[in-house]
C-alpha cells in the first residue's frame, strides 16, 4: 500500500487551524466528521492536536504575553521599605532576559535604641508614634518618605502608631514583619531562631513573611509576581488577637515559617502588656514559667527545684524585683527560698 505521508510541518499547520476553530463557536456536523477523519488518518495528528492545544493554553505563554504587554501590578511588593520600583525593575530586567535578583535593601543606618536589663524605656518617635521598649531590648528606627521602619533586633516593644495610611509602620523581625498604618501593638522576639509574637490592642496589623528564597529562574520570579496569593501575603491581626511566628523545618529540612493566629481576651492581653508599667502580671502560669519571665528583667535569676516548679500562681509583681517575688511566693506556697549571689532558689 502506498500512502502519502504528510510532513510533521503540514500536520502542525492543520492542528493549529483546528485548535483555532475549536476555540470559536461549536463545530458543524460536517466539521466534526472532518476532524474525526483527520485524527484517524495518522497518530501524529492526535499528538499534534494535543500539542497545539497545550501550547495554546500554556500558562507560561500567557505569562510572557502579560509581561510584554505591561509591567506587573505593583501590589505584591510590600516587604519592608523596598520601593516598588525595585520590584518593577526586576520584572523589567527579566523581560529582557537578564537574571532577576530581588534583594532586600541594605540595612540603612537607623537610630538605635537599647534598654538595659530591668529597664523599660518610652521613646517618642518623630511622627508622633510612641515606642515602649521592654527590658533588654534593641531596636533601630529608620524613617523614610515611604515607610516608617523599625527593626526589632532583640526583646520586645510596644508601639502606639500615629495614623498615616501613606506611610506604613513596619516592625521587622528576622523572619517576619508586622505592618500597620495606625494602631497599637506589641512585638516580642524569641531569644533565638527568629520566632516572634505580635499582640494587637487596637487597629489592625498585617504579619508578613519575606518573599521565599530568591527565585531560581525568571519563570519563578514572574510566577510569583503574578500569582494572586502572594499579593495577599500577610496574616491580619486585629484587636485582642495575637499572632505567633514559628520557625520549623519541613520534610526536606528546609526552613518553614508559619504564622498562627488566636484570640486573646482583652483582660489577658492587658495583663501581658503590664510590663509597660514595669509590672509583671501572671494568671495561672506555672512557677517555672514565671521565673523564666522574671529572668528577662533582672540579672538575678530564680531557679525552682522539684515539685513547686509546676505550681500555678497568679498575681501582680514588680518586674525588676525578683527577690520580692520569690519571697512572696515562698510565703504563699509555704516553700523555702535562699539567695546566693545572683541566684535565688525556691525549694521545698
Amino acid at each position: 500500500m502506498i500512502t502519502h505521508r504528510p510532513s510533521a510541518k503540514s500536520i502542525d499547520e492543520a492542528a493549529a487551524r483546528w485548535v483555532a476553530r475549536l476555540d470559536g463557536d461549536a463545530l458543524t456536523a460536517d466539521e466534526e466528521a472532518a476532524l474525526a477523519a483527520w485524527l484517524e488518518s495518522d497518530t501524529r495528528c492526535v499528538g499534534a492536536l494535543a500539542r497545539a492545544q497545550a501550547y495554546f493554553i500554556s500558562p507560561r505563554l500567557e505569562l510572557a504575553m502579560r509581561v510584554l504587554r505591561r509591567p506587573p501590578a505593583p501590589s505584591v511588593a510590600k516587604w519592608g521599605p523596598l520601593p516598588r520600583r525595585a520590584f518593577l525593575a526586576g520584572a523589567a530586567a527579566s523581560a529582557l532576559g537578564a537574571a532577576v535578583v530581588i534583594r532586600r535593601p541594605p540595612p540603612a543606618p537607623g537610630r538605635r535604641y537599647v534598654s538595659e536589663v530591668g529597664e523599660v524605656r518610652r521613646i517618642p518617635l518623630p511622627d508622633g508614634s510612641q515606642v515602649t521598649l521592654n527590658t533588654d531590648s534593641v531596636l533601630e528606627v529608620t524613617y523614610s518618605e515611604q515607610c516608617r521602619l523599625v527593626r526589632l533586633l532583640r526583646g520586645e516593644a510596644y508601639f502606639e502608631v500615629a495614623k498615616n495610611p501613606d506611610r506604613p509602620f513596619v516592625v521587622q523581625g528576622p523572619k517576619a514583619q508586622a505592618r500597620a498604618v495606625g494602631t497599637a501593638y506589641a512585638v516580642r522576639l524569641a531569644d533565638e531562631g527568629g520566632g516572634m509574637r505580635v499582640q494587637v490592642t487596637s487597629g489592625r496589623v498585617a504579619v508578613e513573611l519575606p518573599p521565599p528564597a530568591p527565585p531560581a529562574t525568571a519563570w519563578q520570579a514572574l510566577e510569583r509576581l503574578w500569582t494572586p496569593s502572594t499579593a495577599t501575603n500577610g496574616t491580619h491581626v486585629t484587636a485582642n488577637q495575637e499572632a505567633e511566628v514559628r520557625i520549623g523545618h519541613g520534610a526536606a529540612g528546609a526552613e518553614e515559617v508559619q504564622v498562627s493566629l488566636r484570640d486573646v481576651p482583652s483582660g489577658a492581653l492587658g495583663r501581658s502588656l503590664m510590663w509597660r508599667e514595669g509590672l509583671l502580671s501572671f494568671e495561672g502560669v506555672t512557677l517555672a514559667e514565671a521565673a523564666a519571665e522574671f529572668a528577662r528583667y533582672s540579672r538575678q535569676k530564680i531557679t525552682v527545684k522539684g515539685g513547686p516548679a509546676q505550681e500555678r500562681i497568679s498575681g501582680l509583681f514588680a518586674a525588676t524585683d525578683p527577690a520580692g517575688f520569690a519571697r512572696a511566693i515562698a510565703q504563699g506556697l509555704r516553700i523555702k527560698v535562699k539567695r546566693e549571689g545572683d541566684v535565688i532558689t525556691l525549694y521545698k
Binding site: 510541518k9 470559536g24 501524529r44 494535543a50
Partner: protein, 208 residues
C-alpha cells in the same frame, strides 16, 4: 507509519491540555535536544515528538505520573524503538545505538536538562516575532480572555479573519518550538501572507 494503535477521534479535554502545557511543554526543548543527539538512528524528531504527545494525550490517566519529564523521555524512547522495529532497513549503527539509548534512558542526563530549557526569553521572542494583528488577537484571547467573536468586534474584522489570526499565531509558535528551535527567530525574514498584506493595507488606510 508510527505503528501505534492509539486512535482518538476527539480533541483532548482542557484538563489534559493543561497538564501537557504545565508538565510536558516546558521539557520539550530538552527532549528535542536529546532526540537530536540520536540522529544516527535516522528518525524524524518532529514525528517522534508528535507520537509522544499522542501517547501522553490518549493515556487514560496521568495522575500516577510523578515525574512527567522522565516519563515523556521514556515514551519518546518507546516510540523510537517501535519505529526501528517497523522500519525495513535498520541502519547498522542503530543496533549499537539502541544499547546506548537504553543506558541513557534510565536517567536523562543532567546536561540535557540544563542546556535546552523553555526559556522566558525564547518564549518572548517567539511572541514578539508574531505579526502585529496576530499578536493583538492572541493577547486579547489568551490574556484578556475575550471570545473570538468579541475580538472580531473590537478589531473590526470578521470572526473568520480572527480565527485565521489565532490559527496563524498557534502555527508560528509551534514552529518556533519545533523545527527552528527558536534559534532563528529574528534571522528569518517574515514571509508576507495574504493576511499580513491586508494588515498593512489597513494600517495605511488608518494613517490617512
Amino acid at each position: 507509519m508510527g505503528g501505534s494503535m492509539l486512535k482518538s477521534a476527539k480533541p483532548i479535554t482542557n484538563e489534559r491540555a493543561r497538564w501537557l502545557a504545565v508538565n510536558v511543554v516546558p521539557h520539550e526543548p530538552a527532549l528535542r535536544s536529546w532526540l537530536k543527539g540520536k540522529a544516527s538512528l535516522r528518525f524524524d524528531v518532529d514525528d517522534v515528538v508528535q507520537e509522544t504527545y499522542a501517547i501522553l494525550a490518549t493515556k487514560a490517566s496521568v495522575d500516577t505520573i510523578n515525574d512527567p519529564k522522565t516519563y515523556a523521555f521514556q515514551v519518546a524512547y518507546s516510540v523510537i524503538l517501535q519505529q526501528l522495529r517497523h522500519s525495513r532497513v535498520v541502519p547498522i549503527t542503530a543496533v549499537a545505538d539502541i544499547g546506548t539509548l537504553e543506558t541513557v534512558m534510565d536517567e536523562p542526563s543532567p546536561e540535557d536538562t540544563v542546556l535546552a530549557r523553555f526559556e522566558l526569553e525564547q518564549v518572548q521572542r517567539a511572541i514578539d516575532a508574531l505579526p502585529r494583528k496576530t499578536r493583538a488577537a492572541f493577547v486579547m484571547r489568551r490574556v484578556e480572555g475575550l471570545s473570538q467573536q468579541e475580538i472580531a468586534r473590537r478589531m473590526n474584522l470578521s470572526e473568520h479573519t480572527i480565527q485565521k489570526h489565532v490559527a496563524r499565531g498557534i502555527k508560528l509558535l509551534l514552529a518556533q518550538f519545533s523545527r527552528d528551535g527558536g534559534q532563528t527567530v529574528q534571522a528569518t525574514p517574515k514571509k508576507k501572507t495574504g493576511l499580513e498584506e491586508r494588515d498593512h493595507a489597513q494600517a495605511k488606510r488608518k494613517v490617512h
